[in-house]
Amino acid sequence: MRVNGAGLVQLINRYAEVVAENRTYLIELDSAIGDADHGENLDRGLKAAVAKLEEVAPTAPSDVLKTVATTLISKVGGAAGPLYGTAFLRASAAVQGKPELEASDIVAALRAAQDGLVARGKAEPGDKTMVDAWGPALTAAEGALLAGSDAVGVLAAAADAAEAGMRATVPLVARKGRASYLGPRSAGHQDPGATSTALLFRTMADLAATCP
């Protein structure tokens, strides 16, 4: 399987639907340890990204990712805007000039996205953030690629690992973001950022699995 720009547009459209369906769930997760805005902000940003993609109609994968990145940065605010925006912006740069992405390109884009995320948010594994879903997903994707998987296999492995990482945030004490102010009281709650990240990876894997 190879992914072109139209495939990425389809991904963003589907992810926007998934986030809209999970808007209240993400708000509730954020209410427990943060300020109750994660679901609302992502929903607003992705709706704007969907509209922007329709208006600009980019065709190259890097242009699709860049359009999403700039829309998220300018519409979301909070921590999610710059973090997801940076991730998409770095992914865009990593696939510059490629009309289609194969498994190795996808992994390179995921690696660039995570590097951007870490550079921007300065979170480390175990801080109870998006990185706790993103890190295991990237490791699994790289492992699957080395083992010879195609894009479908790579993304399936990444999605499973992202969900395991998301669940593993439950007992952690937050050290970044607003949840960190709760100290030990942040333990026992699933991180909303790791949850939206796991949803993104699951959406990618599900779409890839249904592609011809």
Binding site: I27, S31, A32, I33, G34, D35, A36, D37, E40, N41, R44, I73, S74, K75, V76, G77, G78, A79, A80, G81, P82, L83, R120, G121, V173, R175, K176, G177, R178, S180, Y181, L182, G183, R185
Partner: protein
Amino acid sequence: MKKIINDPSKVVDEALAGMAAAHADLIRVSYDPHYIVRAEPPRSGKVGILSGGGSGHEPMHGGFVGFGMLDAACPGAVFTSPTPDQVIDATKAIDGGAGVLHIVKNYTGDVLNFETAAELALAEGISVEAVVIDDDVAVKDSLFTAGRRGVGGTVLAEKIVGAAAEAGADLAAVKALCERVNASVRSMGMALTSCTVPHAGKPTFSLGESEMEIGIGIHGEPGRERMPLEPANAIVERLLGPIVEDLPFASGDQVLLFVNGMGGTPLIELYLAYGHAEHVLAERGITVQRRLVGNYITSLEMQGMSITLLKLDDELVSLWDAPVQTAALRWGR
């Protein structure tokens, strides 16, 4: 949820429209992107002072735009920091050629978005400096958190730095002054109730009739500790103790005492608390030389308060006393 709103997604736009109408003599509002600037154009050679943050903390920051205080405020969505394009456009709108100071509260989203905006503004040839306010003593160990939050001290910093910019201080001087205020100010807050974010539709947390949260921020986020409700004097002492010990404030110090309501607490309770706070400070030999009591940095309709202490010297006193004419703070002019 019972609120005087039409549609949760239009709260900020509609509130800004009302604010623009109510204070047409003081401010102008841009809606795409959202920012509030002074009604009069920027004065050539004056450093612009800009702040911003999530909406829901009214009158902060839009209520502090005007003579002697802020030149612009960037309101984000409710409890969400503004986006970089808001900050860049507002920065450009107020630059009088002498550069712009961004006063940022220490929250992850605010810091990330203001940093991004400052980089882009610099790339466009505008001198931008930023100071991050982090006065909340409830957050103890910055090695294990995102660092102390910016709370009530932000109001005092905006007033004092705004006065200095009005008087002609340059960008380096206002930045240094803002850092000095931040180093001299400490706060702590508490809540009797949660607040309800309009888009969430229900309270962020729930507190029993006989409980209170100590060490809250300003976003309806839970505090550090939940405990049985106490009488006002005990609450005041519980907040003042860590504040005084932190700087530390010592006998002989002259201070500004700021008792702030979180939005849902009436002035009668804030004055009651203020009276005891001044008494406690007097017992420690600390003299309250200036004071501020009221709802200035709120958390929607949350019941609760925060206490802020700023150590004063002659320069800070004269800048605090300097004329100010904004929607929410007004004296001397």
